[in-house]
């Protein structure tokens, strides 16, 4: 395993994410996108709280600590 191999895997995963989300918007809704998957989670308080806490942790981890 080299750094190039690892970066290739990350690139593939990033492209797969973009492709899946693009399919959700362009592919006559045959695939569900982020918004469609997150909406039911955001409708219930515990999972909404968990997602918001995750967002807070993300910002604090990358930008503050």
């Amino acid at each position: 395993m080299t750094r190039s191999d690892a970066l290739a895997v990350w690139s593939f995963l990033a492209l797969a994410l973009v492709a899946a989300e693009a399919l959700a918007h362009l592919g006559r809704r045959r695939v569900r996108g982020f918004a469609s998957l997150a909406t039911p989670l955001l409708a219930r308080t515990p999972s909404r709280l968990a997602l918001l806490l995750g967002w807070m942790w993300l910002g604090w981890h990358f930008f503050a600590r």
């Binding site: 395993m1 080299t2 750094r3 690892a6 970066l7 895997v9 990350w10 995963l13 797969a16 994410l17 899946a20 989300e21 399919l23 959700a24 809704r29 045959r30 695939v31 569900r32 996108g33 982020f34 918004a35 469609s36 998957l37 997150a38 909406t39 955001l42 409708a43 909404r48 997602l51 918001l52 967002w55 807070m56 993300l58 910002g59 604090w60 981890h61 990358f62 930008f63 503050a64 600590r65």
Partner: protein
């Protein structure tokens, strides 16, 4: 609650464009700060506190039946959606697995994690500003839905 199409139309309104410009300017400034400093903490804490306050106000408005200004209200629930669920969660699960494998492997230069990739990309102010703006936009989207 406002309806989703109406809320989407508002993205074209001058108010939203001004808010976007302000958020972009703030992100540009936040990108000049350094982690593990007071300025970095403050730059991150401000949007974090603001969106938390909006989320709490939404909760209170729901309980009391009061109203909030339109842009701060939660969007109405969309209609039922169809389509395959598995593609995105599968990719996310694969990314999580690869992140864990990389995290527990060494050296970091050969096994980069999301954090180390971010550190490399965020060494330039423009990219860090883009990441910060994306984070703020994600939080705003979570609060509104």
């Amino acid at each position: 609650m406002s309806t989703r199409p109406a809320a989407l139309i508002r993205w074209r309104s001058p108010g939203y464009l001004v808010a976007l410009a302000l958020a972009a300017a703030y992100s540009w400034w936040a990108a000049t700060t350094t982690p593990f400093t007071v300025r970095g903490d403050v730059a991150t804490a401000l949007p974090l506190g603001l969106l938390t306050a909006i989320a709490l106000a939404q909760g209170q408005a729901t309980r009391r039946g009061g109203g909030l200004p339109g842009p701060l209200r939660r969007l109405g629930r969309p209609g039922p959606t169809t389509g395959a669920v598995w593609p995105l969660p599968s990719v996310l699960a694969a990314a999580l697995g690869w992140e864990l494998y990389s995290f527990f492997s060494a050296p970091r230069s050969v096994h980069p994690t999301i954090s180390s990739l971010y550190d490399a990309a965020a060494s330039t102010q423009a990219w860090k500003a883009v990441f910060f703006l994306a984070w703020v936009a994600l939080g705003w989207d979570l609060v509104r839905r």
